[in-house]
């Protein structure tokens, strides 16, 4: 089942700072909802484990995350795929673009496309889309906070 999601968030930090945080595994790990581990396997790839709950389905996703189209400090593409066992699978990516705001902050625009399958898809679009939006919101709330710290 295909899903798409677009959005923008205004972050109270400079573009350089936002870019650096976007590439910091510790920050990503702290911000990704349910992320249990995020291990760097090369400069642009990670192994990740995240626990996700969608309605009645709760699953641990193991997968790979890759960064590509790196354009510091303007943006990149983050993509990945994970298997959640009985819960199914998810794969997809997001294009992330950064631009300066008038107030010295940064605008982050994201454009996500994802494929989900198995039990997750069987839950139906309405439930899954709602959860996906919620996860994205949670990520950016945490990420905005992270950009103002250290």
């Amino acid at each position: 089942m295909a899903m798409t999601m677009q959005g923008e968030v205004d972050l109270p930090a400079s573009r350089e700072v936002v870019w650096q945080k976007l590439n910091d595994p510790e920050v990503l790990k702290a911000c990704i909802p349910g992320c249990q581990s995020l291990e760097k396997t090369s400069d642009t790839s990670f192994e990740a484990v995240a626990k996700v709950k969608v309605g009645p389905v709760s699953a641990s996703f193991k997968g790979k995350v890759n960064l590509s189209d790196l354009d510091p400090p303007n943006g990149y593409r983050i993509s990945g795929e994970g298997e959640g066992g009985v819960a199914g699978f998810a794969k997809g990516g997001a294009n992330v673009r950064l631009s300066d705001n008038d107030d010295g902050g940064t605008r982050l625009a994201y454009d996500v496309e994802a494929q989900i399958g198995g039990k997750l898809a069987q839950l139906g679009g309405r439930l899954v889309n709602g959860v996906a939006k919620n996860l994205a919101d949670k990520f950016f709330v945490s990420f905005a906070k992270a950009t103002t710290e250290g």
Binding site: M1, A59, E83, G85, V86, G117, A121, Q122
Partner: protein
């Protein structure tokens, strides 16, 4: 309770236990030491399995065993079978890929069975399944039946190039093409018969049990035909010889076709019971029913009807692509072929018919029989063509049908069937009256004043039931005969047990069959027990589907009752010291002609068992007879349904305002049960036409896998039906009955779509006509009306 009569609306005796929670279903069965099975299913529509790591799962708490396709292969357990051979028009046999009960090397649809975890509790089985690591190589999927044969489409099975299982045809192509060449009008329509999920109230379930002392297997399963299950599991899959395998289908909560088939889960449970040395139980979750019970319908069709200037049909031509899913289910190949094309003549005298059907593989769940099985698809084609043609040539749709009705019988169609009897115009006339067809104009104007669109649609259906003469189906490729068996056991005090090969899963056999026996033997209904669904009790039977249990199952009972009566007369003759030819049997008493000497049925039964009054060498003691009944012909129920709808073009909400059904089922045993069957059938047909639809996305994910996304009909969706019957008794069986179980589901979808398109003023809408689809279509209507 007293002696029942044929034609009496006796209330269903089994309902007392069903509605008070006392039914005994497979899930109510627990065997000592029973373990629980959970199936790990493929999340991918199409993938190669590179490796399965079971280690962690095998060592998880409570796990008894984790089994895969390799274990099945090691035990030489065969794959699931399709029991109906279809030959393509070039004469080649259908091309079927293997169908292992647990995947071997590849998964081919979302929900395909990868492994089974057997554990002490279901929760432990599920937790352990989380620990199985499957390394998939995901492959592109072929999903759309209209595109699956195209070059470059993903190949579901290597054995079936271009995903084509068969390219089959029926009828005379040259004669049909010639008919079209001389037509004054040709109607062409493109139709999709939407894919459905059966949604029986009780999900599938199985308990496999093995007795190591006797080497006997028992499978408790939700089956419509336990003997067919035993035959397939024994002779083809190789679980155990028939004498070592008992299949029990206890109370079953609805089937609608989906429980005819022999599935992976049931097979695995009975096999694993021996392998792990424990009874193994599995009960489908609702989502598993959506994913892995056979779906229904799913045809893409181009259909044409040729007429002359006087509105007489000259020919009909059809090309259908039938989606069979990723594997061939038990009877899947017969549904879009011999259960479909032979019904394309409808109620009409059509000189030439040609049908071509491509049976195709896709990466979707297997598709097989669902209430009506092929006949709803044929009726949808014929009755949409009739309505659209009438509109295009400017004839009243009722008059156009009348113009073309078959009027003399027997009538040989160009597509196999020989209709034995019917009076199609009688049903139409009665339906027109009950539906107040004359008042339609007034009702349309009234609706228009409220800003609503009203429409009326017909469906004059015919179906072939009472399947079927064994020789006929054998010649068409069936691997089995379709007779039925019955055994009548009269007990010494005159109570009676009827053992039948039919299987009730909602039809009310315990009432109808007992009613027949009561009427025939003149004994109260409560003295009659109906026993079915156990291969250790009933020797052999073919089960219940295709509206066959009345026409075939009850005919077998009649045949056995004839033998019981003949034997009882002999006993009575000895006891009454009269000649056998002077014994009469009436109202439950055996009397000597012209005298007041007589014995009740119970007294004769007792004499048969005590055997004091006759020489046991001359006449065998006891009173028990069996019969096998093989029908001479199909039966041909027919009728006319008229739907009337009112559409709100602002919202797309379609209200079914009136529904008239006039059916000819021949002789009715129990009109109350018949009416119930018609109600249920119409409900399912309205569900198909307006609500239901199983949808896979392009990647092969089932996106309608729960009642969140798959809309089932509810009581509030229906009007009060106007139901009536006409009757031309069936000449081919002793009771004159034709079968009524599927009629409603066969008749109703075209009636409804014909009504909706009448209201819309154009034909551009597909099933399911959901509010969204109707709203879109109504915008076109509104623009059209504005332009006028």
């Amino acid at each position: 309770m007293s002696v029942a009569q044929i034609g009496q609306s006796v209330r269903r005796t089994e309902d007392q236990r069903f509605v008070t929670g006392k039914g005994r279903y497979v899930d109510d069965i627990g065997r000592p030491g029973q373990a629980h099975a959970f199936f790990l299913r493929s999340p991918h529509a199409h993938a190669r399995i590179r490796r399965i790591d079971l280690h962690e799962a095998q060592h998880a708490p409570g796990v008894v065993a984790v089994l895969t396709g390799d274990d099945l292969a090691a035990d030489k357990i065969g794959g699931l079978i399709c029991g109906w051979m279809i030959h393509s028009k070039d004469g080649s046999p259908m091309k079927a890929g293997p169908h292992p009960a647990l995947a071997q090397g590849k998964v081919r649809y979302v929900g395909d069975h990868v492994a089974v975890v057997i554990a002490e509790t279901l929760a432990e089985a599920k937790d352990a399944a989380e620990k199985i690591v499957v390394d998939y190589e995901v492959l592109p999927a072929a999903v759309d039946p209209a595109k699956t044969q195209a070059k470059g489409a993903a190949q579901v099975h290597d054995e079936a190039p271009n995903n084509t299982v068969f390219n089959w045809h029926l009828g005379d192509k040259a004669a049909t093409d010639a008919a079209f060449a001389k037509a004054s009008h040709v109607t062409t329509i493109d139709l999709v018969n939407n894919r459905l999920v059966a949604n029986a109230m009780e999900p599938r379930a199985a308990v496999g049990d093995y007795d190591s002392g006797t080497d006997n297997f028992t499978l408790y399963t939700t089956s419509q035909n336990p003997h067919v299950a035993r035959l397939v599991l024994s002779a083809f899959i190789g679980i155990a010889p028939e004498n070592k395998l008992r299949v029990i289908a206890p109370d079953v909560g609805g089937g609608f076709g989906s429980k005819i088939f022999i599935y992976a889960e049931e097979t695995v449970c009975v096999w694993a019971a021996k392998k792990v040395g424990r009874p193994v139980k599995w009960v489908a979750e609702r989502t598993e029913e959506f994913l892995a019970s056979a779906h229904g319908r799913d045809h893409v069709t181009k259909a044409e009807l040729a007429t002359d200037a006087a509105g007489k049909i000259l020919g009909l031509r059809v090309h259908t692509k039938a989606n069979l899913g990723a594997y061939l289910s038990t009877f899947s190949s017969s549904v879009p072929t011999y259960l479909y094309a032979p019904l394309l003549s409808g109620q009409y005298d059509i000189p030439a018919i040609y049908a071509e059907v491509d049976g195709v593989y896709t990466n979707t769940a297997p598709v097989d029989a669902y209430r009506g099985a092929g006949r709803p698809e044929a009726t949808f084609v014929v009755e949409r063509l009739m309505e659209v043609t009438a509109r295009q040539i400017g004839m009243d749709p009722a008059a156009f049908r009348q113009r073309n009705f078959v009027r003399s019988f027997p009538h040989q169609t160009p597509v196999i069937m020989c209709y034995d009897i019917g009076d199609y115009n009688a049903s139409l006339k009665k339906a027109l009256e009950l539906a107040d067809y004359k008042g339609l104009g007034r009702r349309k104007r009234e609706s228009a004043r409220k800003g609503l669109l009203r429409g009326l649609g017909f469906s004059a259906y015919i179906e072939a039931c009472g399947i079927a003469p064994s020789a006929a189906v054998g010649s068409l490729g069936a691997g089995v005969g379709l007779w039925e068996s019955a055994e009548v056991r009269v007990n010494p005090v005159g109570t009676v047990e009827i053992l039948t090969g039919s299987h009730a899963h909602g039809q009310g056999h315990e009432t109808t069959f007992a009613q027949l026996v009561s009427a025939r033997l003149g004994i109260p209904m409560e003295q009659v027990s109906i026993i079915h669904g156990d291969t250790d009790k009933v020797q052999m039977g073919m089960g219940t589907y295709g509206s066959r249990s009345g026409a075939v199952g009850m005919s077998a009972i009649v045949k056995a009752l004839d033998k019981v009566e003949a034997k009882a007369k002999k006993v009575a003759a000895y006891c009454l010291e009269a000649s056998e030819s002077d014994i009469e049997f009436k109202d439950g008493r055996f009397t000597v002609k012209g005298t007041d000497k007589g014995l009740s049925f119970g007294e004769v039964a007792l004499q048969a068992y005590v055997a004091h009054k006759f020489d046991g060498q001359e006449l065998e003691p006891g009173l028990k007879e069996g019969a096998f009944y093989d029908p001479k012909n199909f039966t041909f129920p027919s009728g006319v349904h008229i739907a009337e709808v009112e559409i709100d073009p602002e919202t797309g909400v379609t209200r079914v305002d009136r529904w008239t059904a006039v059916d000819d089922f021949g002789v009715l045993i129990n009109p109350l049960i018949v009416e119930g069957q018609v109600h249920g059938g119409i409900a399912q047909g309205i569900g198909q036409a307006m609500m239901e639809g199983a949808v896979y996305d392009q990647s092969g994910q089932l996106v309608t896998a729960s009642y969140m996304d798959y809309r089932m009909p509810r009581a509030e969706d229906f009007p009060l039906y106007q139901i009536a019957t006409t009757s031309t008794p069936c000449p081919s069986n002793p009771l004159g009955i034709k079968g009524c179980g599927e009629a409603g589901a066969i008749a109703s979808p075209p009636a409804l779509i014909n009504a909706i398109t009448d209201a819309l003023g154009h034909e551009d809408i597909a099933m399911p006509a959901t509010p969204q689809a109707v709203w879109k279509a109504a915008q076109k209507t509104v623009h059209k009306l504005a332009a006028e």
